[in-house]
């Protein structure tokens, strides 16, 4: 007995359930309007944001991110982008929590260098520990070392987010072996964060068994961001379904799709 419309268990992060496995950033868009449309079209329910100094003396009527992406409609995920040590990252998270009325889910990233934007693993471990002690729920950006990912999970991070390739590079997943190993080991959600360049890259991440993908540049810097946002939403669903469906085995030789018996010619 087959099933016309096989269901998937939704993604659950820190007790909250999400129907979309695509998480998107809010940076690099040409306009707030474009950002709003792209995010809405992507179907994402979680969006990342950054915390920066208020531009004093700016036109007070200019809309701010939270007017465009309302916390009522989306789960906002404050990030610590730009932080190069644990202290700045923790301080950023505390400001974000105050800004969002106590919302304590954060995306931790402690960078190590501007050329690669790779995480500083030791500072990341330090910051994660302090944040967890302070009651934060930490989704953590990390490299694709399976052991670091496991360690962050054991510390209490609610999701591990290995990079597929450097942030903003669009190179696609460089090391499928590592991503698969991280997934095999993990008991919290694994999301590929960074590196996706086009739809098939997102599908590949999901086919490796990831629980979701977080991206920003691939959508915002496409020639048509709104159309790419739609592409990414579908690519995530396609890759997830393909993973659950169990792909055919690869074969070294061909195999006919039409029966050979019953041919009327010799």
């Amino acid at each position: 007995m087959t099933n016309e419309n096989p269901q998937d268990t939704p993604l659950t992060i820190d007790g909250t359930t999400y129907h979309s496995r695509l998480l998107v950033g809010t940076g690099k868009y040409a306009s707030w309007e474009q950002a709003r449309e792209a995010i809405e079209t992507s179907g994402a329910e979680m969006v990342t944001m950054a915390v920066r100094r208020t531009n004093l003396g700016q036109n007070p009527d200019e809309p701010s991110l939270l007017d465009i992406v309302s916390p009522e409609q989306y789960t906002l995920l404050p990030n610590t982008a730009g932080c190069y040590n644990a202290r700045d990252a923790v301080r950023t998270c505390k400001l974000a929590r105050e800004l969002l009325d106590g919302h304590n889910l954060v995306k931790l990233e402690v960078l190590g260098d501007e050329k690669t934007l790779y995480p500083d693993v030791t500072e990341t471990l330090k910051a994660a520990e302090q944040l967890i002690d302070d009651g934060f729920r930490v989704m953590v950006y990390t490299n694709d070392d399976p052991l670091i990912a496991l360690r962050l999970e054991r510390m209490g991070c609610v999701a591990v987010m290995p990079l597929g390739a450097p942030i903003g590079s669009g190179l696609g997943i460089q090391n499928r072996y590592n991503i698969r190993t991280i997934v095999e080991n993990a008991s919290v959600p694994v999301l590929v964060d960074a590196g996706v360049g086009t739809a098939s890259d997102a599908s590949v991440a999901m086919e490796l068994g990831c629980d979701g993908v977080l991206m920003n540049t691939a959508i915002a810097e496409a020639r048509e961001p709104v159309r790419m946002a739609r592409a990414m939403g579908k690519a995530i669903e396609a890759g997830r379904d393909a993973y659950l469906a169990g792909r055919m085995p690869k074969k070294a030789y061909a195999s006919a799709s039409s029966p050979l018996d019953g041919t009327f010619f010799q």
């Binding site: 940076g27 920066r52 100094r53 004093l56 701010s64 991110l65 982008a81 400001l95 974000a96 920003n216």
Partner: protein, 66 residues
Amino acid sequence: MKIELNGENTEVSDGASIQALVDQLELTGRRIAVEVNEEIVPRSEHDSHQLSPGDRVEVVHAIGGG
């Protein structure tokens, strides 16, 4: 008195509260967070918390980011 606001020296009236500063900045009612000397001051204390000369004040808001 002088305080340091988002990295800039700024003049505020002596003993001004954070709320007074926020109003002065025309940020009343905007989604912001305030830190004084690297300690968060919860919104609930903006009225009562008086600033002191030389306080380092940060007023931040949410922006787009990846």
